[in-house]
């Protein structure tokens, strides 16, 4: 194989390694991959860099692999370099083009249109197969959770969402004054009086491509506030539940709401941790 072709292939590997290592140190990696995959990004980057650089530097060395190739003079170590079906330059273009385009286009965020599509679905906790909230009482909540200055228990939306349908935990949380942070959008269903909005947060199982939204309806006494679509808010209110078609939905009756900056750790670990 020609030395140039070997070097082109090495360049592909080095490019992939640069991408992996760049993202490993990038503070937005958590927007792409769940934490448990991060170490593999580093490992993959180091492997690709080692292979690519080593092969680039040794492209001119002819091979001798020191094991049996039979008794044929013509077929020695070069058989390790099997005939590729792909021209290395074409391969280079196919691998690098989508990477460059994606790097140019990425905003490191899920677009508003996709968030709308994900959060529009009216899911209940029963739709999620696993509900790993440990059993708790008001005493355990007092010990485990902090409270806002006005006495609201600070719980995340997943904890509130997954209490619905669990009769024991519903009893603990029903009527409780709680505070949570999430994104805010209009309520597309179960909103006959027009005084409801929807909170949601996204969670991923492996990567951003499999993101799902966990929603919760909130209800206002008066008119709904005029916040920007999908803005982050901190909401406090009284927890309650409503049953419709045999499904239990959590409902937060709002006492106060304020817009907040995007919190650190915007992506939740969800329920799979």
């Amino acid at each position: 194989m020609k030395i140039v072709e070997r070097r082109v292939m090495s360049v592909v590997l080095v490019s992939i390694s640069v991408l992996l290592l760049y993202y490993y140190q990038h503070d937005k990696l958590a927007n792409y991959l769940k934490d448990r995959f991060h170490i593999y990004v580093l490992l993959g980057g180091l492997v690709a860099m080692t292979m690519g650089v080593f092969s680039f530097l040794t492209a001119g060395i002819e091979g001798d692999c020191d094991h049996d190739h039979g008794d044929d003079e013509d077929e020695g170590c070069e058989t390790h370099e099997h005939a590729s079906d792909m021209n290395p330059f074409v391969g280079l273009a196919i691998v690098l083009m989508p990477i460059f385009c994606s790097l140019k286009w990425t905003t490191h965020e899920i677009s508003d249109a996709r968030q709308d599509a994900l959060s529009e679905i009216d899911v209940s906790s029963a739709d999620f197969a696993f509900n790993q909230l440990p059993p708790f009482t008001i005493e355990t909540l007092d010990k485990a959770k902090t409270k806002a200055p006005d006495g609201a228990y600070q719980l995340n939306i997943f904890e509130l969402f997954f209490t619905a349908g669990d009769t024991v935990q519903e009893k603990v949380v029903n009527g409780l004054y709680v505070e949570t942070e999430a994104k805010l959008r209009n309520e597309p269903t179960r909103n006959t009086n027009g005084k409801r909005m929807r909170l949601f947060r996204l969670m991923m199982n492996c990567c951003a491509a499999d993101a799902q939204a966990v929603p919760m309806t909130i209800e206002f006494d008066g008119d709904t506030p005029d916040f920007a679509h999908n803005s982050w808010v901190r909401v406090a209110g009284i927890m309650s539940y409503e049953r419709e078609g045999g499904v239990v939905y959590p409902l937060l009756k709002v006492k106060r709401i304020e817009e907040i900056p995007v919190p650190a750790g915007e992506w939740s670990e969800g329920m799979t941790k």
Partner: protein, 400 residues
């Protein structure tokens, strides 16, 4: 004409449309997240494949795999328990093992089973379904994945390798087989044992051992069995670069990485695009999947499109709303065996015609098995009774 007049057609082409801008950002996020998730495993796989290529002699495969073809297939289906790999990493490894002479029936059984029958996937499935028929789901997934993989392996016993493997792999495989045959012929041609009693191991200053096994057990070669025992030696003994095995291993790994990366890249592109379409239309899809057949088919299509890693797909399956256990099983069994990116990765090993048959076959077989499995209540009840007793005890303890 209208499209051209109002300019939307032109804007779309130029990616200036706001909707397309959203889709571009989502495509980029999907592509990069899938690429970052899968590429490390592929790279590790190709590194291993490079070292297998150079350091593993072809004859080792003959010694490792059981002689009985069926025993070999059944044992290869369980190899994932010892060598746990996900579906991305297994493809380059399999390419190399097939080139080394591992029978395709064994290789494909391992390739299809390993992403499911491995400790990591088993643990993640167990964890994900901890509140939903745990025993049933875990055992079903292992059983179905193993069964399907073994069945494919057995079917491959009846197929000529030329109809399965692509030309580049065949060429390497033939080369290995020719050498093995030639070597065997040299050893047995005259009906008696030419034992290598005089191994010539000699070291040069290059620091590694050049073992040449010559047969000199017959005192007089010309008078031995009547044919010519002379043969040429393959090593030129020109070592200007020192010990080059590591160079060859790396070079082989880089070439594998290049081949696989091309198909992986195309597969991830398509997955990212399909994923956008799915999210925008999932409500409509859910409404139309109103029978067990459609639901199962839909879930398999989803597994195909989403291309999730087998080590994590159980978490996704567990969170899919309103879906029957059989359909979830179809999702978790088909996904590690066949998805968009795998379809392209498999093209580095298989002929397109065979790959099409394999894809359709897996889709139909797993669909039928999953529907049947969902209806197979008695065994499920037995397993669940045990689990529900444990859960009841646990919950009561928590409430108190």
């Amino acid at each position: 004409m209208d499209l051209q007049r109002d300019g939307s057609w032109c804007r779309s082409l130029l990616f200036m449309d706001p909707i397309l801008a959203n889709h571009q950002a989502d495509f980029a996020l999907n592509f990069l997240s899938l690429f970052l998730e899968g590429a490390p495993y592929i790279l590790l796989g190709t590194l291993i494949s490079g070292f297998i290529d150079v350091y593993m002699p072809s004859s080792l495969m003959d010694r490792l795999v059981p002689k009985n073809k069926f025993a070999a297939i059944f044992s290869c289906g369980l190899m994932g328990l010892i060598l746990p790999v996900c579906e991305c990493a297994v493809v380059p490894v399999i390419r190399r093992l097939v080139s080394k002479g591992l029978p395709i029936s064994c290789a494909f059984t391992y390739m299809l089973a390993a992403p499911i029958v491995n400790p990591i996937t088993i643990w993640s499935t167990w964890h994900a379904f901890s509140e939903q028929d745990q025993w049933w789901v875990v055992l079903s997934r292992i059983g179905m994945g193993y069964g399907v993989a073994v069945l494919v392996g057995i079917i491959l016993l009846a197929l000529p390798v030329e109809k399965v493997l692509r030309d580049s792999i065949l060429k390497t495989l033939r080369s290995v087989k020719d050498k093995k045959a030639k070597s065997a012929e040299d050893e047995t041609c005259c009906g008696h044992d030419h034992d290598h009693s005089q191994d010539h191991s000699h070291s040069h200053d290059c620091g590694h051992d050049h073992a040449h096994d010559h047969d000199h057990s017959n005192a007089n070669e010309d008078e031995g069995c009547g044919h010519d025992h002379s043969h040429a030696h393959s090593h030129s003994h020109a070592h200007d670069g020192g010990n080059n095995r590591i160079v060859m291993a790396m070079r082989s790994g880089v070439q594998d990485a290049m081949d696989v990366a091309v198909y992986f890249s195309i597969g991830v592109c398509l997955t990212a695009m399909f994923n956008i379409w799915y999210v925008m239309n999932q409500e409509m899809m859910a409404e139309h999947l109103d029978s067990i057949w459609l639901e199962t088919g839909g879930m398999m299509a989803l597994a195909f499109v989403l291309s999730l890693c087998s080590t994590s797909d159980a978490f996704m399956a567990a969170t899919l709303r309103g879906v029957g256990i059989g359909s979830k099983m179809a999702f978790m069994v088909l996904g590690p065996m066949l998805d968009v990116k795998l379809l392209f990765l498999y093209q580095t090993v298989m002929r397109k015609k065979f790959l099409t048959c394999l894809a359709v076959g897996l889709f139909v077989l797993i669909g039928l098995l999953s529907v049947a499995w969902e209806k197979f209540e008695p065994f499920r009840e037995v397993l669940n009774n045990k689990a529900s007793v444990e859960l009841t005890v646990s919950n009561e303890g928590g409430v108190e």
